[in-house]
């Protein structure tokens, strides 16, 4: 049984490898985090525009469906028949008037309520269910649904705080910034990484790695740590915004800064420079805005490439990164084409993201045999967890672990928050 004694440091600057590999911990995460008082990103309003439209998704490993009911409201429930625990809806998306489990054809309405059971009265008065069987008590388990400008979140916990409070002002502002116009889904991509889900959650909060691991950023001049930028968190430090401003450094300054790093700093140019061209779409200068929402959502703006990622744990040793590529409904055709080109930057084949798959796998592999040793998280200094207006930092990882410890019930006395 893991306890608060597992932490060698009260500022979460040391994370024991055990937390990435222990199956008992993984089971507890599913219960206390994913089925606990967090809000998980489910999908988008834009994916289910019409009555009866549905999509399958996950909260942790729990399969869920969300759909639009006859009143136009979005409803979400666990995709599991009350009868024998089978998946009710097997398709990933579609349109239906009801959800019917194929096993014994129990039927559920778009509100998740149980509407019909075959042979409920038996045949010729024999068999079937007792008269006292309560249909209302056997619907699909509902989720509370929250909607931030078309981004749908769900929670299985009745005591979860309101979604907007959960997100906090700076994160809410980022979501509203990204979703300020109706979105259009351009497509999906998926990546199966042989590593623990938290390695990916950390990766998205790790500003330090970006221009070192993803050399394309620096080599081809898309993003450098010498640009003005930083990290901003909610008051509980569980979420994080990593941000940077376009063209806010000079080649000369960057050349000097990267001279000591083993990163090519002679800044090559592309034959097709539009791949990295940034067309500002807002009143700010942000060309990088990566918003990680605890535990498993990431809203991403890299230049004009827009996406939302869902981190889907698949056992202690594997994670799926499910990414929805976005544009805006009113994008002119040339902007859609630009976004489709910039989609080359992200995803499993992304020019500035493919390396994450490898980094997570080598971290997972090498840490597995030695569970009591730890990682080191001290970029930007140890101690207090707070926002930074510089980029060589991994402080938000400690915020992640702080809230993680609280939810898992392993927060040590006197720990930073």
């Amino acid at each position: 049984m893991v306890t608060a004694a597992i932490w060698p440091a009260l500022d979460y600057s040391r994370v024991p490898y055990r937390l990435y590999h222990d199956t008992e911990i993984y089971t507890r995460e599913q219960e206390r985090i994913f089925r606990g008082p967090v809000w998980s990103f489910l999908g988008l309003d834009a994916e289910i525009p019409n009555t009866g439209d549905f999509r399958a998704s996950y909260v942790g490993e729990t399969p869920i469906i969300f759909n639009r009911d006859k009143s136009g409201a979005v409803k979400a429930f666990v995709n599991r028949c009350a009868h024998r625990g089978a998946l009710v809806r097997r398709e990933l998306s579609g349109n239906a008037e009801q959800h019917i489990c194929i096993y014994h054809q129990w039927c559920y309405g778009l509100d998740g309520g149980l509407t019909a059971i075959p042979f409920r009265r038996g045949i010729r008065g024999q068999g079937g269910l007792d008269d006292g069987f309560d249909m209302r008590a056997h619907g699909l388990r509902p989720l509370r649904v929250g909607n931030i400008d078309g981004a749908l979140f769900g929670t299985l916990a009745e005591d979860a705080e309101p979604l907007e409070e959960y997100l906090g002002a700076p994160i809410l502002a980022q979501l509203r910034r990204l979703l300020n116009r109706p979105v259009r889904v351009l497509g999906y991509n998926r990546q199966r990484i042989r590593g623990n889900w938290k390695l990916y959650a950390e990766n998205t909060r790790d500003n330090y790695h970006a221009s070192l691991l993803h050399e394309f950023l620096v080599t081809f001049g898309l993003d450098r740590s010498t640009q003005i930028g930083g990290v901003k968190m909610d008051s509980r430090h569980r979420h994080n915004l990593t941000w940077a401003e376009a063209e806010s450094d000079t080649d000369e300054f960057a050349h000097q800064a990267y001279a000591g790093a083993r990163v090519r700093n002679d800044f090559l140019s592309l034959k097709e420079p539009s791949l990295v061209a940034f067309h500002p779409e807002r009143d700010d200068k942000l060309n990088i805005a990566i918003t990680s929402v605890f535990p498993s959502a990431v809203f991403v703006q890299i230049s004009n490439s827009l996406a939302v990622r869902q981190i889907r744990p698949r056992g202690v040793d594997e994670v799926e990164v499910f990414q929805t590529m976005l544009g805006y409904a009113d994008d002119p055709p040339e902007m859609t084409l630009h976004r489709l080109r910039q989609a080359n930057l992200v995803g499993p084949a992304g020019l500035v993201s493919m390396e994450d798959g490898e980094a997570i796998e080598i971290a997972h592999r090498a840490s597995k045999p030695d569970l009591d040793r730890t990682t080191v998280i001290e970029l930007g200094g140890a101690g207090a967890i707070s926002d930074r207006d510089y980029r060589v930092t991994d402080v938000p990882l400690r915020g992640f672990w702080s809230y993680y410890a609280e939810l898992l019930g392993i927060e040590p006395d006197g720990a930073v928050r």
Binding site: G187, R192, F216
Partner: protein, 155 residues
Amino acid sequence: MRADRAAVYDLLAEYGALIDAARFDEWLGLFAQECGYQILPRENLDRGLPAALIFCDSRAMLEDRIRALREANKYNIHTDRHIVGLPRILGAKAGGVLVEAPFAIYQTDQEGETRLFATGLYRDQLEPVADSLKIRDKLILLDTFAVPSLLATPL
């Protein structure tokens, strides 16, 4: 038609072999000067969604992709093995040929462990250039759209 078929076979065989040997400059040489290359998850094709995993709508973009692979990207150390199935010749127009061929690509790591990395379908628009066939447009429909680990070397 007979000669065309032999030329199509030769091109597809060469295509896989050059990637497997990591001879990417010669692989680029199989494409026409004006060309396109994209890898589309079947999930997106089925829903009429355009976003691809790799989307190069010019030769310049394809050359950039190979240059990035060499100069910037880091990925799992591995070798590829293309198994390209029998092509179907779907039609000929204006001297060009439309071809479909199924493929499977196995990846082997440094310690000799092999796994199926990807399977899917090539849909190639080929055109005659001088006395050979070149790829004008290659659409790779990816069945294995839950990409194992990452996708760096071209399919």
